[in-house]
């Protein structure tokens, strides 16, 4: 976890439990907070904390460091600070649990794990199939490498909001994420 503060602003990066994220917001009630909420539903946080002025999703970002960001209150200084830190913020107006890219990608990753668990194909061949059959920039396991905990956390979060069975993490993924 990293915090960057300036003036009256706090930017909070990294993965934390939902409880810890809320604790950070609670203990910085006097600040305008912009927070990485990749694995959670920003709507829930906005409704609980009026000091949360924006949220972003940086946990799945690539070498190109492009991240989705949503502003409740736009602050150009936050954008320039993120740029200073090497990020390329891409603004969105859609508030959705897991934002747009992480939510879509964890579902693709989860399905790849289901297929792997059912021994449909190897990791290598699933990566290959998605890159050379439908032009994905990366294979599902290349995206998830080292991020399995974020993937299961977001899936569990989606599962608690939409308990239809769509978002149940694959066993082989849970084992990998240590959940």
């Amino acid at each position: 976890m990293t915090n960057v503060s300036f003036d009256n602003v706090l930017i909070n990066f990294g993965f934390e439990s939902k409880k810890s994220k809320k604790e950070i917001l609670r203990s910085n009630a006097d600040k305008s907070v912009y927070m990485d909420l990749t694995c959670y539903d920003p709507a829930e946080f906005y409704s609980e904390f009026s000091n949360l002025k924006g949220s972003f999703a940086a946990l799945f970002c690539d070498e190109d460091k492009k991240i989705e960001i949503h502003f409740k209150e736009k602050n150009p200084l936050v954008i320039s600070k993120l740029e200073e830190l090497g990020f390329k913020p891409v603004e969105t107006t859609i508030v959705s649990c897991g934002f747009i890219f992480p939510r879509t990608i964890v579902q693709i990753i989860n399905e790849a794990y289901y297929a792997l668990g059912e021994k449909v194909a190897s990791k290598e061949d699933i990566n290959r199939a998605m890159k050379f059959g439908v032009n994905y920039p990366k294979g599902p396991f290349e995206w998830s490498e080292g991020r399995e905990l974020y993937v299961t956390t977001l899936l569990n979060e989606l599962n608690s909001i939409y308990p239809s069975g769509r978002y149940v993490p694959a066993k082989s993924l849970m084992l990998k994420s240590g959940n």
Partner: protein, 274 residues
């Protein structure tokens, strides 16, 4: 799709016979393959001597005139199980015992089609699923059915791997790899936008391209593929997995199909095309 597959194999300097019921279709396919090669010579992507050789290697045949001693036959006809099974039964009887029979199906279980051939042929029966356009897309799913010989699948994998293809070995299961794992590239964005809201769709397409690095967004891609086609694949995979919620079609897909909004081909899909 058969002509793209035939073109690719000929480019590997294999002797290829392209077969169809319609002589007219065959003639058209041959002309278009020749034209494509001539263009590639112009662009200096192919050597004219090689193209002359390829033209001599590729011929068009009616089914009763095709060489009985072919090493490999790839079926790429209409996606109808009964028609495919009838064809495979005839192919099994027609070709020599060593001929490998493969289906380019994107949906039917290899096991079901293999029922149509003799027990002797079963080990030589497998799935070879190409992606459109076959001369450009590098993936071939090499699908091992219940009775397909593992050794044969591995041999073909190695053969493709040594050429201009990226093979992926997979077990016989609904949607194989791509049509299964790619489902939620559409299903999840549909649930993010929820309703027929063009601005939201534009935004989701933009983010997935810009942040995710995808070449096309899900909504523009569904419009290109055909929303009806994409919807029917979704329903097929969903049903094949016992209506598993991970594959459930979205209301919006059905709404589009019901309103004849199929995408680019009907000038109206998620977006408008004039």
């Amino acid at each position: 799709m058969g002509s793209g597959i035939a073109q690719w194999f000929t480019q590997q300097m294999c002797q290829v016979e392209l077969v169809d019921n319609s002589q007219e279709q065959l003639q058209k396919a041959l002309e278009s393959i020749h034209a494509s090669w001539d263009k590639l010579v112009e662009k200096k992507k192919l050597d004219s001597a090689n193209v002359a050789k390829m033209k001599s290697l590729l011929s068009i045949k009616s089914l009763d005139a095709v060489s009985k001693d072919a090493d490999l036959v790839i079926e790429a006809i209409i996606e109808n199980l009964e028609i495919k099974k009838t064809l495979f039964k005839n192919l099994d009887a027609y070709f020599e015992p060593h001929t490998i029979l493969a289906s380019n199906t994107s949906s039917f279980p290899i096991e079901l089609m293999a029922e149509a051939v003799s027990d002797k042929r079963k080990p030589l029966f497998l799935g070879l699923h190409f992606f459109n356009p076959a001369t450009i897309m590098k993936l071939v799913e090499v699908i091992q059915g219940k009775d397909s010989s593992l050794e044969l699948c591995q041999k073909l994998y190695t053969w493709f791997d040594a050429r201009d293809k990226k093979p992926a070995f997979c077990k016989d299961s609904p949607g194989f790899i791509v049509n299964r794992v790619a489902r939620n590239f559409y299903g999840e964005p549909l649930r993010i936008v929820e309703t027929d809201d063009e601005n939201k769709m534009k935004e989701v397409d933009r983010i997935l391209k810009e942040v995710g690095g995808f070449k096309m967004g899900p909504f523009e891609l569904m419009d290109l593929i055909g929303i009806d086609v994409n919807y029917s694949v979704t329903c097929y995979v969903w049903e094949a997995y016992g209506q598993e919620p991970r594959f459930a079609p979205h209301e919006l897909q059905k709404q589009m199909v019901d309103e004849n909004r199929f995408g680019r081909k009907s000038k109206r899909g998620f977006y408008k095309y004039d």
